[in-house]
């Protein structure tokens, strides 16, 4: 269901009708206040600064970038855990940014999140059973206590946890098992869309593959759509169908994974990919690295012109004068925002 070829075909046949999520011009600015008695806003951290993309049903879209580029904020703003400053988020055709209260709560049955840190995202005072069944109680599903427990046990078994441990507490589990609890909780309401916010980056290497394989199996079985937020570019290539590269609150490049990885167009994507080490000394010895100097600029005070102009190796006049151009399709489905390309 989720192979890139089939997704691509589906998109063609439905011609845009099959977007599960449509994000347009989404912005999230966090205010910076000053003053002791009279708080006034003196600036804003532009965590997400005008991004647009769509997610096709059944696909995995990767969202990559370095820390502080706004990828996690994007995920949370989509789910309305943060309310957007501007822009629209349409989920299965319904506008979320203006929705509130019970309507929004009903939508949460169909969109869920898996968090990065399996230690901080589980309440240490609740048993696994109560963690996984809490969403069911909130949404008044499986009102019968016995049925509910049965369903929770099924879920635990499905994510590879022994149902016998239903009354244990999170600290009794290892990191990988805790992440499985997080996955079971996200699946409890049978959602169609899951934001996975760096679900494996806190895990040991040998455990990462277990969790990724589980997520792939579940996707095939339950026809899930993932927004996979990560900074591990190798893993993104493995799990995702399409990838969006973010830099300082904006998407700089978007396209099918193999296309973007084989043929990156934006200088930031090129540098980012060349910086990722490959576990093979022969490949490493023959690689030409593009080292970009400096650090990520402060998102409260982004550079004028193109966001990347402070670190870009191929910067020219226009990059300091004009803000970065909108995403332009350079090849089929492959979009780039760069003055060099246009």
């Amino acid at each position: 269901m989720s192979s890139p070829a089939m997704v691509a075909e589906e998109r063609k046949t439905h011609d845009g009708d099959d977007y599960i999520l449509e994000v347009s011009n989404l912005k999230k600015h966090f205010p910076i206040s000053s003053g002791i008695v009279f708080q006034r806003q003196v600036g804003a951290v532009r965590a997400v600064d005008g991004i647009s993309f769509n997610v096709v049903r059944g696909e995995t879209l990767g969202l990559v970038g370095e820390s502080g580029c706004g990828k996690s904020t994007t995920g949370r703003t989509i789910l309305q855990l943060y309310r957007p400053t501007e822009g629209s988020v349409k989920f299965e055709g319904q506008e979320l940014s203006t929705m509130a209260g019970n309507d929004l709560r009903q939508m949460r049955r169909r969109m869920q999140i898996i968090f990065q840190d399996p230690f901080a995202s589980l309440n240490p005072r609740m048993t696994v059973g109560s963690i996984v069944s809490e969403p069911l109680q909130i949404h008044k599903m499986y009102a019968n206590k016995q049925e509910r427990q049965q369903y929770v046990e099924q879920l635990m078994e499905r994510v590879g946890l022994n149902p016998y441990f239903i009354n244990r507490y999170p600290h009794e589990f290892s990191g990988g098992q805790r992440q499985r609890i997080g996955i079971a909780r996200a699946l409890a309401l049978q959602p169609s869309f899951i934001v996975a916010d760096e679900p494996i980056s806190a895990l040991d290497v040998s455990i990462q593959a277990q969790v990724v394989n589980l997520m792939e199996e579940l996707q095939d079985e339950l026809n899930l759509t993932y927004l996979f937020i990560a900074h591990d570019l190798s893993m993104v290539r493995h799990i995702c169908d399409r990838v969006a590269v973010m830099y300082l609150g904006k998407i700089v490049e978007l396209g099918p994974v193999d296309e973007v990885y084989e043929n990156p167009q934006h200088p930031y994507t090129q540098a980012l990919l060349s910086a990722v080490p490959v576990p093979d000394p022969v490949v490493e010895d023959n690689r030409q690295r593009i080292i970009i100097a400096g650090d990520l600029p402060n998102p409260a005070n982004p550079p004028t012109g193109c966001n990347f102009n402070t670190r870009c190796p191929v910067v020219f006049d226009l990059c300091y004068q004009e803000p970065d151009p909108p995403l332009i399709e350079v090849r089929p489905d492959h979009y780039v925002s760069c003055h060099r390309v246009t």
């Binding site: 370095e66 593959a209 080490p277 490949v283």
Partner: protein
């Protein structure tokens, strides 16, 4: 080339309230002058603890080096008195730690922290040591070095802080530099900057280096030799070409198979190692990887 460091049968345990932690269970390796050794392993595999032990930095109690020898240039470091060890630590053997945020003192300026070891080991006065510190900061690529000596750690970004740590490590021209996951807390583009810097400086200073990491990709690019650790023991050791291209140990094979590669499209499923790493609180019985191994035999 001659042998710089020889570690033999190192055993380290921690006696905690929850019982004994068997952190390192008999590790032996040696290091030539000017060589780079990569130690790879997951958390709890004993890679950091074995290096802390040879620096004499195991907190005691609860930790204790039970047995073994660490011969560095003909002297067994484990038998040295604390003040003798202090003459070697920082001067002959230096260490860079993982988290540049917590390993720099937040209330002292960068200058004070770099000049400390210069004054202690090289007997420099304030003017000399400040000049040398500025040269070092310049060497690791910190712009406007002399002025920044009076800045505090929080005024530097993560990558810059790690550069400061490297400058401190290099300050007394050590013969051996131990880098304990120096790039793990950094973003990939910054990681690439630091790796290039260390590679270049290593040649300039002609040091031997031990690079500890959990990222197989990072060591592939820098290490001459690689040692894979699991459960407090060395699983496999060899030249980096042998270990990556012709790995023999099922754990190394499993680890490499479970890693997706940037340079190949990921159609096939990742091979996974079943189970989880051992609880180091249990006394080691037999080979640590046996419970998760798919080619084990009952021995």
């Amino acid at each position: 080339m001659s042998t710089l460091l020889e570690v033999k049968d190192l055993v380290v345990r921690f006696y905690t309230q929850e019982g004994t932690v068997y952190a390192v269970n008999g590790v032996s390796f040696d290091l030539e002058e000017g060589e780079t050794l990569g130690i790879v392993g997951e958390s709890g595999s004993g890679k950091s603890v074995s290096c802390l032990a040879l620096m004499g930095l195991i907190p005691s109690p609860p930790g204790k080096v039970e047995s073994g020898t660490v011969v560095f240039e003909g002297r067994d470091l484990l038998t040295l008195k604390p003040d003798q060890m202090r003459l070697i630590r920082g001067k002959e053997i230096a260490m860079i730690f993982q988290d540049p945020m917590t390993s720099l003192n937040p209330v002292l300026t960068i200058g004070t922290q770099i000049t400390e070891s210069l004054k202690l080991h090289e007997g420099m006065n304030t003017t000399q040591s400040r000049k040398r510190a500025a040269d070092l900061l310049d060497l690791v690529g910190i712009p406007d070095a002399y002025r920044r000596l009076d800045d505090y750690p929080h005024q530097f970004s993560g990558g810059m802080r790690q550069r400061v740590m490297i400058a401190m490590g290099l300050s007394c021209n050590p013969k051996l530099l131990i880098a304990d996951e120096p790039t793990t807390a950094l973003d990939v583009t910054i990681q690439a900057q630091i790796i290039e810097l260390v590679k270049q400086l290593k040649d300039e200073f002609n040091m031997a280096m031990i690079w500890i990491t959990h990222d197989l990709g990072v060591v592939a690019g820098i290490a001459d030799r690689i040692q894979v650790m699991y459960g407090g023991r060395i699983m496999e050791s060899g030249s980096s070409h042998e270990v990556f291209r012709d790995s023999r140990h099922p754990y190394t094979v499993g680890l490499l198979g479970s890693l997706p590669r940037l340079d190949s499209s990921g159609e096939e499923k990742l091979t996974q190692i079943e189970g989880s790493p051992p609880d180091m609180r249990n006394e080691p019985v037999g080979w640590p990887f046996a419970p998760r191994c798919d080619v084990r035999e009952e021995l």
